[in-house]
């Protein structure tokens, strides 16, 4: 479904954000990109819909290589959920959700904000699914709590009926209890539709709880790729403390899986 072929990214200022990443994410997988701040998670996610272009290597979605000519049509099949929700503040909840279907409506309809019945129904269904109430429809998003705003963000992302959903630290601005609710919601919505999800996180415990597969990045390099169980076996702290002292019998939490040590070498 989503493949990264030896992608790397070097920003204009010389920052090497990613180096030679190879990944194949199959359809329907809930895949978590795990790593500390600055690891390159956002950069990798943004490459999947061309918001960042790779310096070398290629991105393939559904058998098509991403390039300048097909980028717009591919973006229209890829939903996105953001850390800061990225909703339009003075617009109503309903309009924010409907704006997720903007690629499908004519300029005239978009301008007068009259959406076809099918899209309005889809918006209502999604808002009900994410746990909002009818009285929220006409409310401005700025009047909602952070968790509610991210629910709106998720509803908006699914308006596209995307094949692939990118979530960039969707719960980083939320408190732990709400974070788990939102992650559960995101996973349920995706599983129900068979949507492939790539979600970046910096909390290993959330990754272990919700992911089908965890891909850990550090310093732009892939340091772990496996199931949550394998990550637990490898030792969660390993991802964050790869530079720390070698594991000792006295510190079993620091047991680092062989592939992680390999990546370091």
């Amino acid at each position: 479904m989503l493949k990264f072929h030896s992608v790397s990214k070097r920003f204009d200022d010389g920052t090497q954000a990613l180096s030679t990443i190879n990944l194949d994410i199959p359809k329907g997988q809930f895949c978590v990109l795990l790593g500390p701040s600055g690891a390159g998670k956002s950069t990798l996610l943004y490459m999947a819909n061309g918001l960042v272009t790779s310096t070398t290597g290629q991105v393939e979605i559904d058998g098509k290589m991403l390039n300048r000519t097909n980028i717009k049509s591919i973006r229209q099949t890829v939903g996105m959920v953001h850390q800061q929700f990225n909703l339009t503040p003075r617009l109503s909840v309903a309009m924010n959700v409907l704006s997720g279907a903007l690629p499908f409506v004519s300029y005239l309809r978009a301008a007068v904000m009259w959406y076809p019945r099918a899209l309005r129904e889809r918006a209502c269904n999604l808002l009900a699914e994410v746990g909002l109430a009818p009285e929220h429809l006409s409310r401005r998003v700025s009047e909602l709590s952070g968790g509610q705003q991210q629910r709106v963000g998720i509803a908006r992302a699914f308006m596209l009926e995307p094949r692939l959903l990118l979530a960039d630290e969707p719960v980083a601005s939320l408190d732990p209890r709400v974070s788990r609710e939102i992650m559960a919601l995101l996973r349920d919505e995706a599983k129900r539709r068979g949507t492939t999800v790539v979600c970046s996180l910096h909390q290993p415990e959330l990754a272990v709880e919700f992911a089908d597969r965890i891909i850990a990045l550090k310093g732009g390099k892939l340091v772990f790729d496996g199931s949550p169980d394998e990550l637990v076996a490898a030792g969660l702290d390993g991802i964050y403390q790869l530079d720390a002292p070698k594991p000792t019998p006295a510190n079993p939490a620091l047991h680092v899986a062989p592939q992680i040590l390999e990546a370091l070498a």
Binding site: V78, T88, L102, Y107
Partner: protein, 339 residues
């Protein structure tokens, strides 16, 4: 008792608290004053202060005489009482129907002493001439109000046209939406050009092109305001929060839809404020551009001024003042409601 400062531990010499201003600032201040003094003497500012002082002194009885106060008093006396009624000689009104007078109007007989030469006796004879005058008690006020209405219409149309013109200008002048450097440069230059030519000058030329009347006025005001609005609209587009725009860009919504959903809702309150300011400014400017024949109350003002009808001028000024006052109230209220 020992001073406690002796007990303080020694801190690093990096801690230096300097004075908030230095000789350099003082020098800049003196230089600015010197510039003001120089230009002030060129502009006769000392005479202005002296004469204002005299006038103020005169008004409280401290100074014997003040040419400025006398001048102002003369103007005041000629403007007031303002002209409310309209008096017209009946014989000059075409198709006068004395059984069907305008509302509140009445006919008065005016007697004027006349002196004329008798051609036979070659002597001056005095006589009394009776003229019938139609007196409309609120007639002139009505004329002025109608003209003021026309002025408001000019301002309204100029504002609407300015908004329509400035929308494409703003799109091309916003660096993050303009298709390329050339369109950006062209839009920015047009905006500067529009803003740099004063309305009165544009009106002067447009009167030559379109003739006397409101068309020249509407266009002159609209062009200038479009430059103003284009600049401020564009700057708000550039400064709008990027996050909502990024989320729409990410799903391939396209530039125009992104602008409509990601930017416009953010900037609408400022845009409304600009539009109200422009409406307000256009009303005030519309009273002025009439001076060059571009329609509205200014045309009436100029005519009366040239004929030394100062009490009529007084009426016009009072009406303009009240209109601007009401408009201020209206914009303040609208702004509050929309923000």
């Amino acid at each position: 008792m020992k001073s406690s400062s002796h007990n303080l531990p020694k801190i690093s010499p990096d801690w230096q608290l300097t004075q908030p201003w230095t000789a350099k600032h003082l020098f800049i201040g003196i230089a600015l004053l010197a510039v003001l003094a120089f230009t002030g003497s060129r502009l006769e500012m000392p005479r202005m202060f002296k004469e204002i002082g005299e006038a103020l002194g005169y008004s409280v009885g401290l100074t014997e005489k003040s040419p400025v106060a006398a001048g102002l008093a003369r103007i005041g006396n000629s403007l007031f009482p303002i002209q409310i009624a309209e008096v017209t000689e009946v014989s000059r009104i075409e198709n006068f129907d004395r059984n069907n007078l305008p509302l509140f109007a009445r006919i008065e007989i005016q007697e004027t002493k006349t002196a004329h030469l008798n051609h036979e006796t070659l002597q001056m004879e005095t006589g009394i001439e009776k003229k019938e005058m139609l007196v409309a008690p609120l007639g002139y006020l009505k004329t002025v109000l109608v003209k003021m209405g026309e002025t408001l219409e000019i301002a309204l149309w100029a504002t609407v046209l300015a908004i329509l013109l400035s929308i494409p200008l703003a799109y091309y002048a916003a660096s993050n939406y303009s298709p390329n450097k050339l369109t950006y440069f062209l839009a920015r230059s047009s905006i500067s050009l529009l803003r740099s030519v004063p309305e009165l000058i544009t009106a002067l030329f447009l009167v030559l092109a379109f003739g006397f009347g409101p068309i020249a006025g509407v266009l002159a005001l609209a062009l200038h305001a479009a430059g103003f609005l284009g600049k401020f609209y564009a700057e708000d587009i550039e400064n709008a929060d990027r996050k909502p725009q990024q989320s729409l860009e990410a799903i391939g919504a396209g530039k125009l839809k992104t602008l409509w959903y990601g930017v416009l809702p953010q900037v609408i309150p400022q845009y409304v404020a600009y539009n109200l300011y422009i409406l307000d400014r256009n009303v005030r400017m519309a009273t002025v551009i009439g001076l060059v024949g571009a329609g509205g109350i200014g045309q009436e003002l100029k005519g009366r001024f040239d004929m030394f009808h100062f009490s009529h001028v007084g009426t016009i000024l009072v009406v303009i003042f009240i209109t601007v006052l009401l408009l201020d109230q209206f914009s303040a209220r609208t702004r509050k409601k929309l923000l």
